[in-house]
Symmetry: C2
Amino acid sequence: MEGYDKHAFEPFAVTVDLAVFTVRAGALQVLLIERGQEPYAGCRALPGGFVLPAESAETAARRELAEETGLADVSGLHLEQLRTYSEPERDPRMRVVSVAYTALLPDPPEPRGGGDAASAHWLPYDGLGPLAFDHGRILADARERIGAKLEYTCLATAFCPPEFTLGELQQVYETVWGAALDRPNFRRKVLATAGFVEPVPGAARLTGGRGKPAALYRAGAATGLHPPLLRAAPPAPGPAGPQDSPGPQDPAASSPSVSTAASASALSSSSKGPSS
Amino acid sequence: MEGYDKHAFEPFAVTVDLAVFTVRAGALQVLLIERGQEPYAGCRALPGGFVLPAESAETAARRELAEETGLADVSGLHLEQLRTYSEPERDPRMRVVSVAYTALLPDPPEPRGGGDAASAHWLPYDGLGPLAFDHGRILADARERIGAKLEYTCLATAFCPPEFTLGELQQVYETVWGAALDRPNFRRKVLATAGFVEPVPGAARLTGGRGKPAALYRAGAATGLHPPLLRAAPPAPGPAGPQDSPGPQDPAASSPSVSTAASASALSSSSKGPSS
DNA sequence: CCAAAAGTGTTTTCCATACACCCATGG
DNA sequence: CCATGGGTGTATGGAAAACACTTTTGG
């Protein structure tokens, strides 16, 4: 195993797959493309592409993110490695090892990308049908991780524009967790955590309609939340599980290795009413 | 990017690297090999090897784990994907993308592997010198993850033999976190968390010497800890950071992409007194 | 004036901490 | 009988959940 030989191994293709999320219209939405080519033609799939010889997977992911979203500047967006998927049969054509990334965007991104031939669409996460390859599992893994990271990191601000109200931040939590939070307590918790958010010197802003204008905040310098902001009890280990949050789709299944054991509980939109 | 062509890309080698930890003699120890070949010859490195054409990275990691530890049965050991390292220059010879895994072993594993030519050794994590390639960073990432996961998962039992005492479990926490815990409170917390540990019907056991015999426990079915078992405040965000836990070595650096902003705080062994 | 959303205050409950203390064993 | 480690009990402080209440806007 120490003897390197460029031809001792079959060529592996290395790609990146992107699970790009945003919160809009009170729903968690995902950026998906529709495949044209044959393996899974017509199916929805995660955006992605090859890692070029001179770039890291991280660089490739950010490049693809720019191409697929059509955004000019993606340097400020949250992009984070999820994990790597390497099952030998995950692509029927050849051996493809894919490094999956999760990206988080604030609400107002361009609805569809323009860089590529395959058009990308924002679709609500709940009620998605099966995806191409093992992308359903990748997406489910990404979604689970986001929900978990909201508990103990300041990640939620990545879903918000540069300046936001605490109400918007709370909506991010409520949308991702699928549970209502007590506003006074949420407020206290966020403000008590040093470096989570910081007030903007400017004045207050209307919320778009009736209601008292809300103060504006910026994301702070902190990345971790100590102590964490806990939700009820998502990982119901075994019995007696009154499921709450939308356990949305369970497309290309496979059992997660770490296993939260809490599988889907279809209570969102029972059948798929997607493109409306 | 949709047009597949087996020759459109330069061949990537895909490998696995293993960060294998154990707790022995009150210290966190790591399994390392000493390189014979030239790039970084004589340097310590993580065990690892190529992913074979027909296997997944996970399978390759478990195979390497068996080879390097010399253990006959590694099926019960905790093995978990850490992340993938893909910087173009991480191996001077060619393009190597490496999927890193973290493995946790109970105390009494064979001290060194026998499968491979390169002999593996257990070495205390604190006070290590620089490692080959970017393995120093990989190891640091793995170590950080372990410390964090002890807080909100039942991972600690992976460091323990099939049957263990609460004192042993507590020692795992204290060793990994580098902080003393209050025994009565630790005990209550662990026993109050359903599914963390379960008592063994058999009788009590001596602790090896003086002291009251301790009850034996087994790992339970739960994977997550709700609520978590928090330590003091590891990620000091920016200013005014009275560092506590040993920020051990910071070998082959590079700035982490996700960045906890809290970089190493050399207070363990001030300078590097490595190979002693 | 009413609805809706922001923001403040208060009470209650629970949990983590910090101890004091008893039990069982080896020397 | 004393040191050592296992195990139990208990008081106290602080934070989180629950909820009543005021403020400020638009219709």
